[in-house]
């Protein structure tokens, strides 16, 4: 069964969650000395390294790939076929032209 295209609200909410998750991790990691863990991990470095890897992957995606990803999702939403209109809810206001 074909999945319905994401609504505008979902696209915006998912992008916002990504930004907020990054911001929250940024605030947590701002209180930890990470470089020392990265350069020479000690016995207690496993947790810090794990959080750092997750953070850097998230940050890499957010800053490098997310702009294009969000732009493409918005493009696909704005140009969705008319048959998909009824399947996409969420307060869309712009009428598609293609």
């Amino acid at each position: 069964m074909k999945r319905p295209p994401p609504s505008l609200r979902r696209i915006v909410v998912e992008a916002a969650v990504l930004v907020l998750a990054h911001f929250a991790l940024l605030q947590v990691l701002a209180r930890v000395n990470l470089l020392e863990h990265l350069l020479a991990p000690g016995a207690g470095s496993r947790g810090a390294l794990g959080i750092t890897v997750v953070f850097l992957l998230l940050r890499g995606f957010l800053l490098v790939f997310a702009p294009g990803w969000v732009a493409v999702r918005l493009w696909l939403w704005a140009t969705r076929p008319k048959a998909e209109f009824s399947g996409s809810s969420g307060g869309e206001t712009a009428a598609p032209t293609a």
Binding site: L26, L29, A30, N33, L34, L35, E36, H37, L38, L39, A40, P41, G42, A43, G44, S45, A48, T52, F55, L56, R59, G60, L63, V64, F65, P67, G68, W69, A71, V72, W75, L76, T79, A98
Partner: protein, 374 residues
């Protein structure tokens, strides 16, 4: 058509937006914008004012923890001094940070990592024959630069004593290399000592050239990888033979140190890094630790390698690219620093959250490197 345009849109956004967003801060650093520079400098100055303990570092090795404590004070001092040279209007605010760094560098607790290795204190044995190349070289580079920046320096006498001790050790070394620890000698550590003597010579008029010329000649030719020109990482002080390869971490840091005193050898070292190790993806620069065709692991010098990319080599190359006016490489590397460093602001300070005391001190020194001395 709709799908093709989507792919084109994704490619256009991915190629253009990240490099613009992540390069905004680098552009300000490149031109030395006072607000950007002062914010990180304030953070580094505040860190050394609080004091840096070796317990703040996570390595299980007491030697590495001691080296990093020492390195934090040394890079903090170099970075703050460079800021004062470029922005004299900030000297009043930042000079206490420089004094705190020097106080830390000469403190007995910081000297201890070197003393443990040699069985003697470096400053108490300046008339002796043992090397202490890293401790004395790195410290003296700070003292010489501080004296060149502030003619009323309080550390001129110590700078003179260490300079003469280092010059004598270079002169007396059979292989023209001064050992860092017993039976361990590293050209990059000698580069710091050489640079300190070149600055001392410029400031005081003392002629050190005859003492350091053989070592400088080795850095020009003998200790270079014949294929790439990279500086060999380690030399056996007894035989003069290399026991490690040319690597980014040592070559780029040596080029940065030497650029404070001369531009010929340092320029050649930087050219080797740029030619054989530097690359970029989507405008984000990196520097590999080893040249193509060579494989090796990461270590305490390079940090953990990520697909061969060297965190230390990449960071140190920022300083080289600024010192030698390579704007393109500087911007590429600065984007990577922004992406992986994750800078945040707290009040009047700004710092990299993945940096910690050592990383932020290094980044200040790298971002504010001054033009290579002719």
């Amino acid at each position: 058509m709709r799908g093709t345009l989507a792919v084109l849109l994704f490619a256009t956004c991915t190629v253009s937006l990240p490099r613009w967003w992540c390069g905004r801060e680098g552009a300000r650093w490149l031109v030395g914008e006072p607000r950007a520079v002062a914010a990180l400098a304030r953070h580094v100055a505040a860190t050394v004012a609080q004091g840096v303990s070796s317990d703040a570092f996570t390595s299980d090795s007491a030697l590495f923890r001691g080296e990093w404590q020492f390195g934090t004070y040394q890079m903090a001092a170099l970075g703050l001094l460079q800021v004062c040279r470029e922005h004299p209007e900030l000297a009043g605010e930042l000079r206490p940070g420089i004094e705190n760094s020097i106080t830390g560098l000469v403190s007995r607790s910081v000297r201890d990592f070197d003393a443990q290795q040699w069985g003697e204190d470096a400053l108490a044995s300046l008339d002796g024959a043992k090397g202490h190349a890293a401790y004395l070289g790195y410290l003296n580079l700070v003292l010489s630069l501080e004296r060149a920046t502030f003619p009323d320096s309080n550390h001129a006498a110590l700078n003179d004593r260490i300079s003469f001790a280092l010059a004598r050790r270079f002169r007396d070394s059979a292989q023209h290399i001064v050992e860092t620890y017993p039976n361990e000698a590293y050209p990059v550590d000698n580069a710091a000592g050489i640079a300190s003597l070149l600055i001392h010579q410029r400031v005081t008029g003392t002629d050190h050239l005859k003492d350091i010329a053989p070592t400088l000649q080795q850095m020009r030719a003998g200790w270079r990888d014949p294929r790439t020109g990279l500086l060999l990482q380690a030399i056996d002080g007894r035989t003069g033979l290399s026991y490690d390869r040319g690597r980014a971490s040592g070559t780029a840091l040596a080029a940065y140190f030497l650029s404070m005193g001369e531009s010929e050898v340092s320029g050649a070292l930087f050219a080797a890094v740029r030619t054989h190790l530097a690359g970029s993806i989507l405008g984000f620069g990196f520097v590999d630790e080893y040249a193509s065709g060579e494989r090796g692991g990461g270590d305490i010098d390079s940090g953990p390698l990520i697909f061969g990319m060297s965190p230390s080599g990449t960071g140190f190359s920022i300083a080289c690219s600024r010192a030698f006016g390579d704007r393109t490489l500087y911007m590429k590397l600065a984007r990577t620093a922004y992406l992986t460093g994750a800078p945040v602001s707290r009040g009047a300070e700004r710092y990299f959250i993945t940096g910690g005391p050592l990383g932020n001190a290094i980044m200040l020194a790298m971002f504010t490197a001054q033009p290579a001395q002719p």
